[in-house]
Amino acid sequence: MAAIKELSKSLVQPFLAVVIGLLTGALVIAAVGESILGTYQEMWKGAFGSFYFFTSTLARATPIMLIALGLSLAFRAGVFNLGAEGQMVLGAVSAALVAIYLPAPGMIKIVAGIFAGMAVGGFWALLPGFMEARFRIPLLISTLLFNYIAVLFASYLVTEPFRDRSGSAALAQTVMLEKSAWLPKLFAGMSVHAGFLFAIVAALLLFWVLRFTPFGYEVKMLGQNSLFAQYGGINRIRVMLTGMFASGGLAGLAGTVEVMGAHYRFVDGALTVPGFAWTGLMAALLANSHPLGIIVTSILLAAFQTGAMGVERNTDVPLELASVIQAVLILFISAKFSYDWWKKRKAKGGESHGAL
């Protein structure tokens, strides 16, 4: 019961923010001289109008949700991980390469690919965590820098050694995974794939871990008052590193399921251009880092995006309607959210550096 109460409490402000976001959206729609109601109707249709569109929204929500879950774990522990993009891309490219070149039957390829994607994403996140712990290099900055290195390295891998040179090789991409290594679609002909189930399971699992396990308790203590937590015998560095590994692993999984369930190959830029990492950050913030809330907020943000695609297809209103609404939403919600969070930080004093 308490859990439900907490969940609904954490959803009230997002709801208000959504209303204000939509009002701002109405303003800009009016500015380009289109019908506001008509546009929002198209948006609704684009996101939920038919079963097909609904499943597309869920498919889009999948990587956002996984990334948001990973980030929320880091946030809860009081660590600001800005490196989800790099962790996702490196995870995705490793999963693709393992699934393509591992000589094994399809099922094993899938399992090995997922394992590789999560492990690589996790270790890539662990590295800045280690740099923070050992050399006190601010995590916030190193994770941001590691994104560029990861994205460029993955881009190199698919433009040079592992490039698909068969057929129209205009795009920098790997060859296609063989069919047996594809993640199954949940419904025939629809775009939502098994990755969505992984995301839901991950959300439930994270909820359980944070609420009912000693590790979850440690994370919570550390996030709320790190000095007290350390006084109580919690090893800050160990929890931080575990949190970063899990966070990166989930981001890696996000990239992996996109590769194995949607594109069936690693395409350079296919994961960075839609801005999954930043949207995931928003979803985590909107839900106040609550794992079950993230299920709702990431589907909501995905719906804005797929809805805006529908709007762009059928009206003259540009796709960026989604950016405007999302930005206003975040501006509105972050004022209070960060204020709470700030109070905790302040109480904690200036101990950890990257944990901004």
């Binding site: 460029l152 190199y156 003259d316 540009p318 405007v324 004022a335 959210f337 901004l356």
Partner: protein, 304 residues
């Protein structure tokens, strides 16, 4: 075509300008303890406003001024949210980036009625300045002379900012706010006012950076034309340790790598590693210079 020749340096100087200006703006924020992730959005807004200003006034000076003013308005939003409402600066920065992308696209549609890009062949870009005497020196003339005025402005700002930080009273105060806000406040410094001042100046610099992007290098606006330059500026700022001259050096490195990447494409060599180099160097630099780092250091949060 040679891999290295003198025109490479000339294009480096051109490429570096928006990054340098934005990075200096970021450094101003960093020096008062604010990590401004919204540089990208501020530059984009500046680039768009410069084109709008040029279209309606036909005056390039006014266009640059309008770009700076509109970016200042956006930076005031950033200042209000982060300082007044105490929102997390990274979150607000990210939101500003999204907002800038969305609003410029909408305004492009609403004002010019076009989608994707606006280009007017009659629109004049920023003129190039041929510096007398220097222009006639064989090699150096080709490198230094013949850029838009904003290119020289950017280098001037780097030097002025150095003077501001280390030779003026207000500059010292700004540094004090960044170093220890509590102590600064107890000395009677107006911490909030200085922070807002720094953010506003940073907005102006980002707006001018945008104007160089849309009027100096090409004379057009395309959606999302900053293409990550704001983030590169952020990295250049970190690498330069928020020191104006350090930023000058790091921005030149980024510009050179940028120009080199374009050159390498002509040779069909992989460009990823040259593009990666500045980031690797920045991380390496953090191992050595970590103690001087302004951003992410303990004290920055302790005032607000």
């Amino acid at each position: 075509m040679e891999l290295f020749d003198w025109s490479l340096l000339s294009s480096t100087i051109r490429m570096v300008t928006p990054i340098l200006l934005a990075a200096l703006g970021g450094a101003l924020c960093a020096r008062v303890g604010i990590f401004n992730v919204g540089l990208e959005g501020l530059v984009l807004v500046g680039a768009f406003s410069a084109i709008v200003g040029n279209h309606f006034t036909g005056n390039l000076f006014l266009a640059v001024l309008i770009a700076a003013l509109v970016s200042i308005v956006f930076s005031l939003l950033f200042a209000y949210m982060t300082i007044r409402l105490r929102a997390n600066e990274i979150v607000i920065g990210v939101a500003i980036n999204f907002l800038a992308l969305g609003l410029t696209t909408f305004a492009l549609r609403a004002i010019f009625g076009v989608k994707g890009a606006f280009y007017d062949k009659d629109m004049a870009g920023l003129p190039t300045v041929e510096i007398p005497f220097i222009h006639d020196i064989p090699v150096i003339g080709g490198i230094i002379s013949g850029h838009s005025p904003l290119v020289y402005f950017a280098f001037l700002v780097a030097i002025l900012l150095y003077v501001f930080f280390y030779r003026t009273v207000t500059g010292f105060r700004v540094l004090a706010v960044g170093l220890n806000p509590v102590a600064a406040r107890s000395l009677g410094l107006k911490v909030t006012g200085l922070q807002v001042l720094a953010i506003v100046m940073s907005g102006a610099l980002c707006g001018i950076a945008g104007a160089q992007l849309s009027l100096g290098q090409v004379t057009m606006f395309t959606e999302g034309m900053t293409a990550g330059r704001g983030f590169i500026a952020l990295v250049a700022m970190m690498m330069g340790q928020s020191h104006p001259l350090g930023i000058l050096a790091s921005s030149l490195l980024f510009g050179l790598m940028d120009a080199l990447s374009i050159r390498l494409q002509g040779f069909s060599l992989p460009t990823q590693f040259t593009a990666m180099l500045p980031y690797v160097l920045t991380i390496a630099a953090m191992f050595f210079l970590k103690n001087k780092s302004q951003i992410g250091s303990d004290n920055q949060q302790s005032t607000r």
